[in-house]
């Protein structure tokens, strides 16, 4: 490509990302859900909690008995399904942000100190991480919530804690790799403190795999939170959370297919969006990992 300016690594990665159709599709889906979450009050035609005795179990508009008042129908309390689905986006996005932040913060802290200081500290921290990995993650999350008590807040904590090891291992590996490099030793020779070395010099250079993991982490957080709520261990009724809505729809399975189908589709598409973007980011940020 003659005449083109040389790209910075960041611009190069961005260019690769834009060309990657799966990533763009994933990003589009995520933006859609984010918009839904942000503008829920203006988008939703009804109050998600408003009950109506006269509008119980109305089918979607295209079925006999459906009407434009309730486009996707209503549940057994006469609540508008579409409005609840839209508000559900808020909860799932918050769940994603909170639990990923917990995992990211503690995982990065544990992984970077373990990798940086090595020795006994490294050993102790990583054995603890291995221990957390000795449980199937959904089981550990269920058990943590079982003891803390069922609520959305505790579900977010449980999901966050369960995924700490993924981040810790990743960060530790990257830190070990970067630490050996000359620029770190140069900074050290100039008298940089440990904290400065870790946060200013090393971590920014470990960002690529961390960004990928964070994106994929959103996907699994949303999925796991929905599972916990479905089991009655996360968001409690009448919260319009997709998993909790599914749990309610399960009792209506004979009478109202829509109350089961649509909340599941929302979970599926939001998780798919983050998985697509994560895959695309992996290709764009780290060409070595391309299949």
């Amino acid at each position: 490509m003659a005449g083109e300016k040389p790209h910075s690594p960041r611009a190069e990665a961005f260019r690769r990302l834009r060309r990657n159709k799966t990533a763009v599709a994933g990003l589009a889906i995520i933006v859609l859900f984010l918009a839904m979450a942000l503008f829920a009050p203006s988008l939703a035609p009804h109050d998600p909690l408003e009950q109506s005795l006269y509008a119980k179990l109305k089918p979607p508009v295209w079925q006999r008995g459906g009407s434009w008042t309730h486009v996707l129908g209503t549940d057994d309390f006469g609540r508008d399904l579409l409005s609840r689905l839209i508000y559900g986006a808020r909860i799932s996005m918050v769940v994603g942000v909170v639990s990923v932040s917990i995992a990211l913060f503690f995982g990065t802290l544990a992984g970077s100190t373990a990798g940086f200081y090595g020795g006994l500290l490294d050993n102790a921290v990583m054995r603890l991480m291995d221990l957390l990995l000795a449980f199937p993650s959904i089981l550990l999350a269920i058990v943590i919530v079982a003891f803390l008590g069922p609520s959305l807040q505790n579900a977010m904590i449980a999901i966050g804690v369960v995924s700490i090891p993924r981040y810790a291992r990743l960060v530790r590996g990257s830190v070990l790799e970067e630490y050996a490099k000359d620029y770190v030793q140069a900074a050290r020779a100039l008298g940089a403190s440990d904290a400065r070395l870790i946060f200013v010099h090393i971590l920014p250079n470990c960002l690529a795999p961390l960004i990928v993991q964070t994106t994929l982490g959103f996907a699994s957080a949303i999925l796991e939170a929905a599972a916990l709520s479905f089991l009655g261990l996360g968001a409690q009724p009448p919260t319009p959370e997709w998993g909790a809505m599914l749990a309610n729809g399960r009792a209506l399975i004979l009478r109202a297919w829509w109350a089961v189908t649509f909340p599941g589709l929302m979970i599926l598409f939001s998780v798919l969006g983050f998985n697509l973007l994560g895959d695309g980011l992996r290709d764009a940020l780290d060409p070595r990992l391309r299949e």
Binding site: R127, D130, L131, A134, F135, P136, S137, I138, L139, I142, V143, I144, A146, F147, L148, G149, A219, L223, A226, A227, F230, L231, G232, L233, G243, L246, G249, R250, I253, L254, W257, V260, T261, P263, G264, I267, L268, V271, L272, N275, L276, D279, E291
Partner: protein, 334 residues
């Protein structure tokens, strides 16, 4: 090989020890008094005292842990609050159901996953390739508890082909030998029982298989693609061997190692998925049992169940490691 197996088995000891410490401390996550949480607010002070004594909560921490460990080592997990049965007995009764479900799910996942992966790789960029890769992406993003419900709506409620839930019809009896209904009914030539058990297991097993199936399909495709590019494949084709022979005999065999690793890893993950699947299909396994213990706030049973599932999980992972080293001797070095 023997020393590798020994070393790997020995690493299990600190892991299981660690699990026990973690499981032990879990009861202290309970905000407030666990005994009151278990029995409810209106329980009499006497009943509370009794339960505290039984759980050892009236003792100092190190004595509590000592008691917990010594009971654990004797294989005693205490009694379930709801039934007053031994927890080990209850779990042993339900274990075969979970094993059967996981094995059936794995059979689905391996068969369809590998098939889709091989076809995708041999016809790269074809319609089949694109659609199977799309399916596998959807597969890993799918809430399996939702898929289970959708399958129920379609195959039980609308078409009426498959039973809605459970493991066996109430009027069907299968003599227990291994505890796995499908195998026991075959061994006793109980065809009606076999049919009934098979009809019951299809939907839950398929539901549980989706995520591993998707992952196996992806890894099979990429591993096959790598092998198919190699010279000896071109040589085999140039010799005029039929493509099917080249694909399945020459290529697949050499593409197997990463596939087997992934299959092994998925086995443990099935245990987690089984909790959700068993709940939806009322499948009487340990997942459903554990969840019911959670709902009943039977902390003792939750601890016991968690201990057992986690130990099974790490044991399966260990067996996979050993099998892997046996198939691929290079791994032992690292």
């Amino acid at each position: 090989m023997v020393s590798f197996i020994l070393r790997r088995v020995l690493t299990l000891i600190p892991t299981v020890f660690g699990i026990s410490v973690l499981v032990f401390f879990m009861i202290h996550l309970v905000p407030g008094d666990p005994a009151e949480m278990m029995l409810g607010e209106r329980a009499s002070e006497q009943a509370l005292q009794e339960l505290r004594r039984e759980l050892g909560l009236d003792q100092p921490l190190h004595i509590q842990y000592g008691r917990f460990m010594s009971r654990l080592l004797r294989g005693d997990l205490g009694r379930a609050l709801r039934t007053n049965e031994k927890i080990t007995t209850e779990i042993a009764e339900r274990f075969p159901a979970t094993v059967e479900l996981s094995l059936a799910a794995m059979a689905f996942a391996v068969t369809f996953g590998m098939f889709a992966g091989v076809i995708s790789a041999t016809r790269q960029y074809s319609v089949f390739d694109y659609s199977s890769m799309l399916f596998s992406l959807v597969g890993v993003s799918m809430p399996i508890f939702w898929l289970g419900l959708i399958l129920m709506i379609i195959f039980s409620l609308h078409l009426g082909w498959l039973p809605l839930s459970g493991r066996l019809s109430y009027n069907v009896h299968i003599q227990a030998i291994t505890g796995l209904h499908l195998i026991d009914s075959l061994l006793t030539a109980n065809w009606q029982g076999f049919r009934d058990a098979l009809w019951h297991i299809v939907m839950p097993a398929f539901t549980l298989s989706t995520i591993p199936m998707a992952i196996i399909a992806r890894i099979t495709r990429s591993s096959m693609l790598e092998v198919l590019r190699q010279d000896y494949i071109r040589t085999a084709k140039a010799k005029g061997l039929p493509p099917r022979l080249v694909h399945y005999k020459h290529a697949l065999k050499n593409a197997l190692i990463p596939i087997i690793t992934v299959i092994g890893l998925q086995f443990g993950i099935l245990l987690g998925g089984a909790i959700l699947t068993e709940t939806i299909f009322a499948w009487p396994g340990i997942g459903l049992w554990l969840l019911n213990a959670v709902y009943a706030r039977d902390f003792n049973a939750v601890q016991g169940g968690t201990m057992l599932i986690a130990t099974t999980f790490v044991t399966i992972n260990m067996i996979v490691d050993i099998l892997y080293a046996w198939i691929n001797p290079r791994i032992k070095v690292s």
